[in-house]
Symmetry: D2
Subunit: 340 residues, 4 copies
Amino acid sequence: MKKIKAGIVNVTGYAGMELARLLGAHPEVEIAYATGRSSAGQKLSKFLPHLSSLDITITEEAGEADVAFLALPHRESAAQAVRLLDRNIKVIDVSADFRLKDASLYPEWYSFDHPAPELLTEAVYGLPELYRSQIRSARLVANPGCYPTSAILALAPALKAGIIKDSIIIDAKSGLSGAGRTLSMKSHFCEANENVSAYALEGHRHFPEIDQELAKAGNSSKLRITFVPHLIPVTRGILSSCYADLSGNISQTEIEKIYSSFYTDEPFVRLTEAPPGISQTRGSNYCMVYPRIDQRTGRLLVISAIDNLIKGAAGQAIQNMNIMFGIEEKTAISMPALYP
Amino acid sequence: MKKIKAGIVNVTGYAGMELARLLGAHPEVEIAYATGRSSAGQKLSKFLPHLSSLDITITEEAGEADVAFLALPHRESAAQAVRLLDRNIKVIDVSADFRLKDASLYPEWYSFDHPAPELLTEAVYGLPELYRSQIRSARLVANPGCYPTSAILALAPALKAGIIKDSIIIDAKSGLSGAGRTLSMKSHFCEANENVSAYALEGHRHFPEIDQELAKAGNSSKLRITFVPHLIPVTRGILSSCYADLSGNISQTEIEKIYSSFYTDEPFVRLTEAPPGISQTRGSNYCMVYPRIDQRTGRLLVISAIDNLIKGAAGQAIQNMNIMFGIEEKTAISMPALYP
Amino acid sequence: MKKIKAGIVNVTGYAGMELARLLGAHPEVEIAYATGRSSAGQKLSKFLPHLSSLDITITEEAGEADVAFLALPHRESAAQAVRLLDRNIKVIDVSADFRLKDASLYPEWYSFDHPAPELLTEAVYGLPELYRSQIRSARLVANPGCYPTSAILALAPALKAGIIKDSIIIDAKSGLSGAGRTLSMKSHFCEANENVSAYALEGHRHFPEIDQELAKAGNSSKLRITFVPHLIPVTRGILSSCYADLSGNISQTEIEKIYSSFYTDEPFVRLTEAPPGISQTRGSNYCMVYPRIDQRTGRLLVISAIDNLIKGAAGQAIQNMNIMFGIEEKTAISMPALYP
Amino acid sequence: MKKIKAGIVNVTGYAGMELARLLGAHPEVEIAYATGRSSAGQKLSKFLPHLSSLDITITEEAGEADVAFLALPHRESAAQAVRLLDRNIKVIDVSADFRLKDASLYPEWYSFDHPAPELLTEAVYGLPELYRSQIRSARLVANPGCYPTSAILALAPALKAGIIKDSIIIDAKSGLSGAGRTLSMKSHFCEANENVSAYALEGHRHFPEIDQELAKAGNSSKLRITFVPHLIPVTRGILSSCYADLSGNISQTEIEKIYSSFYTDEPFVRLTEAPPGISQTRGSNYCMVYPRIDQRTGRLLVISAIDNLIKGAAGQAIQNMNIMFGIEEKTAISMPALYP
């Protein structure tokens, strides 16, 4: 079989690196090119010694390919996507540029006017557990954010089942790789180590994405969602602790039935028998979900765990590619977590 | 002035060690004895090289003293406290044995029948910010748990002000020293490192203590409190993220006024201008509190940070002792955090 | 092709788990059984949620197989190996029981008399870079220790080239997974975190193994080797910093030539252009080696980095199996490091 | 008694912050000013919330004081020191600008020509264990580097005793705070976490300082010193593992006698009975030293541990100030380590 030619735009950030690592081991993919700005012209292996088995020279521009993975900062991604789609190249955008359906949210949350609002309708939100059939035929996939992936997978079954009243609180804990490879004081080792803090209490950019998808799942525009992200001193992983008020009495058995039936055929979601830890997902594309009724208050608690760089970014992007190209969905992303 | 003779019962756990370290530098205290079981007869400095400036030999039994700090496991503490009080020794109990007012909660939450239920009424809950005047004349102080300290200090001002409706969620993140020095798989380095997980979802032992004190503060028995503790890979610190539904419209300015007026004279509570991190409290007796109105939902968010071994245990115990003996309250516990 | 049936004896320790994870993805291997003591009868996926894609029930006894991997504590391994060899099952022993050629070293270093000293001659030391041809036809492979793997790969090229005089110092830094899954105070999170210390200064059990192999490589019984292991607060990885006095003047170019020619065809050893970090090997079977002449003293410095659970244990064991069974050597162990 | 007025030049780096924290609790010192560039005009407590008990406004310029602590980058420090000495202000320079006696080393190691080479002779190397009497009357103290402090305290007793032949290897492991507060890729959390690597193999700037002082201590210009620093994922602490060839046969008892007699009256050096860990020195001014004869090779091993920001910077600077001003040497720096 002829291999799929895949390009990686901006290979030098953490999501880009993971794309290179995972695509480099994909039996049906050939990495057509990998771009990077300051490092253009360098061997990827020089820049990233752990990828020295890949013989790739970083280029400045995107070349020919069947599909391009965009691991660019937001805003730059949208412009690039337009150019690639014009060349009939499928696009999987790891940035936020096509995740929101309402173009007016971009100036508010991302401080730019969207250059191609017409594509927002066409773009498919790349969460296979909710949109697999649309992904199959998509030209443009908006790969979900890491926090939204963990929050939506935690809450969608309950929302679809119509058992959540309105109040939802998502308390998320993320490793530092979610903050990227760009230097900043909050990612400085001595500031992040032995620390934990909440941030973006006035509103994190992933909020409108969570809001949009939970509203759709619950078929309701009246959800009262509070989302508070925290930084914890680990490299990879997001744990989302979700709290929701139920519209009626639900037993632990019933909630487990709702979740297990929702995820019964999903290759990458696992319901666990005990609260999951992020170390059980590190390096893997799995999302672990643990729903539980808080007996005292009748509230629903759901804990979910993912590796933010894999199910929350590069792995899910490849899952989307596999679906788009009719490849077995688990190809190249079926490895278990690297635990401990 | 004659120094206060203070005894430490069970110096070999983390709370006991911290008591020794802090009391050893207290200008008005003399450590009368320090007990330990397996290590009785050893020099404290041999067992704990960082305390080699203290010339103390660990004993098996508690000796004479003006006050005894009990850093024993629950159940053992109650029995010991009774004996010491009979000898007219004041007791500051760092265990949970005198924190709950309702004796029937002990069999339910701690699996033992309380041996001295009559003392539960007498015991003063040792949170100076709420019970300073009672502490002043107490014979027996029940030093608060670490999670309760952080949660109560976060929520008491709002509850006392009567602005919280009923729904309260406390999502707490604790370092591993809270789990103590006893070996366990969850405290094994490779299991805890690069991990975060929720635990005790069926009900943590600190829940009834939080429940009791928040109910008192809010003068309400109808609060719907969910408390979910998490372990994060740091040694010291608790960050509590608290979410509460408000009974009416409250602005950010109003909430700040409520909190700053409540804590205006408190030496160890600081309201911060940005979400606090636990590293800003490490090694100190300070609690940092950051209240904020979530504009979208009108909810109250409060983030609090403490060092679980100091404000959450040994430091607060010494603060209580200072109050009980009429010493300046900040003596020996005024050091700023060891940051970074 | 018929798959090789591989058994894992003691799957519940860190080396055993890694064997299960890696063998579970090996295209030419079928896991015939996996034993465990206290967990016998349980599903492996219950015990180890990250391996839930493997449908294995833990057994008490070793069953039929073409090859057995022993991840037992020393002493138990020797007895088990004898029984398996008698049943014509090939054995790859991850313990130390067949690494030393001189039986008299076992009472001295491991406190037991070796039950099958005659097998010590037959056993092949499973370091493919030095003993590949013997491994090919071995019935019994003694898989090297983690520290020895890193130290020998760092120093063998120089010793074989005859350029080291006699003085060798190996200062090794290991993550905590090297200390295993058994609870101990030194592996307790709060004791290991934010700490580093040397241990076993009177002599670590890996010393005689290092001594034996370096002496062979250098064809000299007069080496003065000092080996000091340190624990650092990471889960995986060993960095060995090796210092050796040279017998003559060697330039940086010459030393690089010696090393690159020695490792030219080795699939799992990479010479790096900058000092390697263990994070560049995490989750991979690669050993990174960086030789350098210290200009001021004319000494040789060699830094090597491995993942102690992979190249230092399970990965190398599978590399040995691949060689023994004529499978392409990189099969199932070619994944790049999980970085960051 | 009138308090000493102390100024802190550049309070916003890690050493400067620690100076503020420790001086703020010094009973005989008043912080006269604290300078900072970009943060001039701000309240120190706003910039550093953990120091909110200090009511200090950051200034741009150094003011009047009895003594100034310079926590500036090298080169800037020298120029500032000259100006302050001219104003008859005593100077304790935490930078490297007055540590080297040979002015020609500055262009070689620090890439600048020393602006005041005549002061290099006058400056006293501020290691109280070696130069206490000179410090007493010094106008200008060159506070030692963190690596040199740990290495010199480990080796000076043996060198002074004349028992070391010539070969010395110092393998040092440092926490990230040693790399300062300036952002860099090597201090980026995800790069430093779960990692360890050697750096500056071509020559670290602390080498000539170590070389100068060990040569003096050993009264020999023929020492063959190799110094290799490593970064480990902790915030504070340096562990130096030192290896030296002995000129004759020395027993363990003899070496202990040499060290205990050398450090018998030293308030801040402790000989330990087991290899020390850096966590036993965190937050304290103590240096722990553990000398040991390697029986197999007859080599001397010495392990030393310090907190790089305290005994390796701010604490030692205050120790020097105490000596210079005739204050009890332990004042304000006698706190035990914050362990765990």
